[in-house]
Symmetry: C2
Subunit: 269 residues, 2 copies
């Protein structure tokens, strides 16, 4: 990334970071850190810039997620993470919705305080191996049996990258149920404006002084820009060269990785 | 169905019948015939009207399918059935495509003569329990790794009815892969015009003298009408009262079941 065009970075007071594909690549083996990212995180914190993680991770509770990040060398706490499941719980309670959960087993504790009897909506997360035909069919039957089907999707990502390759994300299964039931899902998580606004409130910085750094051109970059933030795409994680020809979304800059983004932003401070 | 408005039935010379939801409801138990349908089939044949079956069935070979129908009391032969898999095999050979198959195990013999080495496309059928996360992810990775992904879907149905309830059909999984890979599937089977035209050629009757009878408002009725045929929706199988408010498709008539359709058509002859 050339330094030209980075003048806006002088006004940056806080960073929102995507996690998978930016800090580390996940995987059955626990994942591997992306080179330079743990050091970059330390440098942000040392600089006095504010920092918050904004993830669509729904394969485990925030507690477990943060524990895994710790083990990989990242110094973060649960309070520094905005994730879809707690946001969904707030929405469910506000609207008196009782979910049927089609999510990863390890996410279920996040919904411990939610009434799940006699479901009147379906909550879909990145269920991975739980996306069996039987489980998807069960969610389908519940939805098509409702007078007004309510489908809540924890993100709408197409795919993500793990250490052994690309993996289908929740968005693909959201589309399957949307089509089968002729319903439009409500997305909780990136790129929903309300979700970014919640993350910004946690960050404590207005959108025009914040920058989002992610590997997902649509859900990280496009979503953040629609909230008035700057947004950078890293060339790590699920990044593919074809992203640079996206018909609708153009990041404020591309960077090779988080470390490079932090270098440039700190130089501009 | 009132007799008024059925004058067109005097010109009918051939019937195309959908199978699941019209002749029988499928199920793990082999399925059950829909009351009156076997007798209706005999009456059509005795009347001298031409008859052909036009199905999107892709859970087994035509041989097995016809054997199952025989056991349920339906007098039909393989030559009387137009189904997606043989149509897909013709298309694959025409275009030099080598498929990766994501289909039901029992359908695989239909592709015995097709080169499946080093796949350059994905063929998706109603794979049912084979729609595991691992299998869908494998198809996804193949597609997203292709310079120009080719996804061929054997039908695009949203769901069908079995004896134990509604089941997600191939269309839902087609939408999942379309979204994940940013590709548009090519549909072989109903409602594709080319597929109906092949069935009409087998029937030996021009579209204006043919009527399609099915339980799927979009794939049977809408597809047949776009080919210039009349089309009836039966109130059996996956039929739901809300189908009668479909925003785009209006059948030439509703009938309670196949037997009623045949009664009225034969009375008009």
């Amino acid at each position: 990334a050339a330094m030209a065009g980075w003048g806006w970075a002088r006004t940056v007071r806080g960073l929102l970071l995507d996690v998978s594909g930016v800090l580390y690549d996940g995987g059955a083996d626990g994942g591997v850190p992306i080179a330079g990212s743990a050091e970059a995180l330390r440098r942000i914190k040392a600089s006095g810039l504010k920092l918050h993680l904004c993830t669509n991770e729904t394969q485990e509770t925030r507690e477990n997620f943060v524990g895994k990040l710790h083990a990989l060398g990242f110094d973060v706490s649960v309070a520094e993470v905005t994730a879809p499941a707690p946001a969904a719980c707030r929405l469910l309670k506000e609207r008196g919705l009782r979910p049927h959960l089609l999510v990863h087993n390890d996410l279920i504790p996040e919904f411990a305080d939610v009434d799940k009897t006699n479901p009147n909506c379906v909550v879909l997360g990145d269920a991975a191996e739980n996306f069996t035909y039987a489980n998807l069919n069960e969610a389908f039957r519940l939805l098509i049996g409702m007078e007004k089907p309510v489908l809540i999707s924890l993100g709408k990502g197409r795919y993500y990258k793990e250490t052994d390759g690309l993996k289908l994300d929740v968005g693909a299964y959201m589309k399957a149920l949307e089509y089968a039931c002729d319903v439009q899902a409500e997305v909780v998580g990136k790129p929903a404006k309300r979700f970014f606004e919640a993350a910004l409130a946690e960050l404590g910085v207005p959108p025009e002084q914040a920058v989002m750094i992610g590997d997902d051109i649509e859900n990280d970059v496009g979503g953040a820009q629609r909230c008035g933030m700057r947004a950078l795409q890293v060339r790590t994680g699920k990044y593919r060269p074809s992203d640079e020809n996206h018909p609708k979304v153009k990041p404020d800059a591309y960077v090779n990785n988080l470390a490079e983004a932090v270098d440039i932003i700190l130089q501009q401070q």
